[in-house]
């Protein structure tokens, strides 16, 4: 079965295409109608990337499989808000399908479309419709567009093929497989534009000074991309990515010593730390509120309900905390500070005061520092014993994180297959240590909460019992991860991996 095609083109060309088809086929005009709809997606177009789309018309939300162009589920909804919380979609089937594949927290109105569609039938000598033709004039977020859509009829593929050939005679056509991609293109929205993925490419002949500036510039671009999402409080993912890139920038400054002048590094680092500190509490609250089910699942059912008042308490705190952050990020003080650093990186990167190793070759510098970091993990890891305190595990985790950042920065400088194997072994170790850390932090937070003067904790026995239950389960998980550490570390520090690290980073 051939797939429907959307051909986006200029108005005059669309008219010509229709004329050509009219000359070569028997065409009857069926109907013309107006329609208005909105396209929703997650902040990073997760739905579209998974072959799904959510359209809102005057009456309902429709979840469409873009591959088959079929409506999978509908939910009666007449409110056309800019943001739809997934929890507000009460239709269980709609929600189930949406969350099974993609699991966005919120849907954001991406595009507003007004369309006039004309439908034509291409008929055979029995006047049977053998192909449908849809010609549309539309406004997508105010941008004018016009498309032609050929809709094949089952069993009449040869007509579809022939009509497609006529259309393809016209040069500069743009072909899309779905209406969502068509209108997004017309509105100048590229779903791939939003990506918090960090990537920098080096040839190997650059200086480390140039490389560090490029790394920071890339991180700053991602921070900038997430800024509006944070202050509009659209999805907690924006704040998370905002913070990840602040941390990445700080790590780059500290992990690559003597590249910039020490005074500059200190100033820049302090400035980034100040911004990061302002976001910390909100992120903690986000993790608690949005991952609360994980915490609830740690406790027996009879105790779990005791945690409910705490959720309400933290939700209220989140409102205040967000308001504080919004005020800070909207202030001219923040904007001036951020723009100052941004400008330094983009326009005056070359002029950043140089440290003593600034002119070293990026690959040589990176190799040395990567190998140093690898050896440090091996050394610290070997010092961890089954009875070591938590700090020893944390020390290894921190070094692993540093190595991971370094690998992200310089990945393009080394042999890709070997790097993939090396990163994989590190990732496995980090997975164990990551859970160990999360559980440890969570335990500490809950313990502090239990000993705090917060009224609802002090006066609510059920809540105290629930917190106690959670701490106990977390402790068991932590013990489990302690035991798993030794196996993961053995894999990471085996002879093969040490040899691989030496091959990659230069010590033969």
């Amino acid at each position: 079965m051939y797939k429907t095609k959307y051909i986006l083109n200029s108005s005059s060309k669309v008219t010509k295409i229709v004329k050509t088809l009219k000359k070569n086929f028997a065409i009857t005009e069926e109907k013309q109608f107006k329609l208005k709809y909105f396209l929703y997606d997650s902040f990073d177009f997760l739905l579209l990337k998974n072959g799904l789309a959510v359209f809102q018309n005057s009456k309902e939300l429709n979840l469409v499989n873009l591959q088959s162009d079929e409506n999978i589920a509908s939910f009666s909804n007449q409110e056309k808000t800019d943001i739809i919380q997934i929890t507000s979609i009460l239709d269980t089937e709609f929600r189930r399908i949406l969350t099974e594949f993609v699991a966005p927290r919120v849907l954001i109105k991406k595009i507003n479309v007004e369309e006039i569609r004309k439908l034509y039938n291409i008929v055979n000598k029995d006047e049977k419709t053998v192909l449908r033709l849809c010609v549309s004039e539309f406004l997508a977020n105010g941008f004018e567009g016009k498309y032609i859509k050929l809709i094949p009829i089952r069993g009449y593929n040869s007509v579809f093929k022939k009509a497609s050939q006529f259309v393809e005679q016209f040069e500069e056509n743009l072909y899309f497989n779905t209406i969502a991609h068509t209108v997004l293109y017309a509105a100048n929205i590229n779903p791939d534009d939003y990506s918090s993925k960090f990537f920098v490419n080096f040839e190997g002949n650059e200086s480390i000074h140039y490389a560090l500036t490029k790394i920071l510039d890339q991180s700053f671009k991602i921070i900038r991309k997430n800024y509006l999402g944070v202050i509009d409080d659209i999805d907690i993912e924006f704040l998370h990515q905002f913070r990840v890139n602040l941390r990445r920038s700080r790590s780059a400054l500290s992990l690559l010593p003597e590249v910039y002048d020490e005074k500059f590094v200190k100033q820049f680092g302090n400035s980034l730390k100040k911004i990061a500190d302002k976001t910390s509490r909100l992120r903690d609250l986000d993790v608690f509120i949005f991952d609360k089910d994980k915490l609830f699942n740690l406790i027996p059912n009879e105790l779990a309900e005791g945690l409910e008042p705490l959720v309400g308490y933290f939700e209220n705190e989140r409102v205040d905390e967000f308001s504080k952050l919004h005020k800070y990020l909207s202030s001219s003080k923040y904007k001036q500070e951020f723009t100052k650093w941004e400008k330094t990186l983009i326009k005056n990167g070359k002029k950043i005061a140089r440290g003593s190793r600034a002119d070293e070759n990026v690959k040589e510098y990176a190799s040395e520092i990567l190998l140093y970091e690898f050896n440090r993990i091996i050394k610290l890891g070997k010092m961890v014993k089954p009875k070591s305190n938590d700090e020893k595990f944390h020390d290894v985790r921190k070094e692993c994180k540093k190595l991971r950042y370094l690998l992200e920065f310089f990945i393009t400088l080394f042999e890709p297959t070997q790097m993939k194997i090396f990163i994989f072994s590190l990732k496995k170790l980090q997975d164990v240590l990551g859970v160990f850390n999360d559980v440890s932090v969570q335990r500490e937070n809950l313990y502090n909460l239990l000993n705090s003067n917060i009224k609802i904790v002090k006066e609510n026995r059920k809540l105290s019992a629930a917190i106690g239950g959670a701490i106990s389960t977390l402790q068991n998980i932590q013990i489990e991860k302690r035991n798993q550490f030794f196996e993961s570390f053995d894999n990471f520090s085996n002879k093969k991996n040490i040899k691989l690290a030496k091959e990659l980073f230069g010590e033969n």
Binding site: D126, E127, K128, T129, I153, R154, G155, Y156
Partner: protein, 243 residues
Amino acid sequence: MKTIALYSIKGGVGKTAGCVNLAHLASLQNKKVLIIDLDPQGSTSFYLRIKPHKKFSSEKFLGGDSSKFIRGTDYENLDLLPADFSFRYFDLELDKFKKSTERLKKQLNQFVGEYDLVFLDCPPNITLLSENIFNVADIVLLPLVPTPLSEHAFNMLIKFFDQQGIKKKKLKVYYSMFEKRKKLHLETVKKFMGNKYFLNNFIPYLAEIEYMGSYREPVTAKKINSRGSKHFIQLWDEVNKLI
């Protein structure tokens, strides 16, 4: 997937008109519907302006993957597997199979998942194919012109179901081409009043239905507000509740 067979031993009773209109109404309710035209005369295929693929035959239909021979109609959600003239050899073809009365059931299994409803437009006879149809159908819809001859045909069918051990509860009868002004029709209707196999709704004799052969569209598509359409809508509502 449910299967509804429009069946009658007698020809010219409005079987094809019933099949096309009921299937069209089902497709309007967002159900994925397939009509299989089993009658070599190909009346359903004619009504829907569809010709079969040159390579299609009764042998292909009973022996392999028929989905590539399905054609889309002019109506959304409604497809047709058109009849081929070779369908007159159905019984000969069926006889070649070990479980010859279950062959159609096996073949229809390939459409499970793709269609919600399959309508079978059956040829007017009582043969090995008919047994296949009775075995696979969830509902056997029998259009009956209220005359003594049709009454006789109905009684024959009941007897046949009994003999073959086919569940009679799947048999549902509706009056077709009913004319109130005809005394004979009224007498027959009266006779069967309250019979458990008979549906409450009927299709009257109407020129607009007879003209379907001329405009080659379901009356429910051509004139949705017409009298004929209203009767088909009422009949479909009643049948739909039985599914």
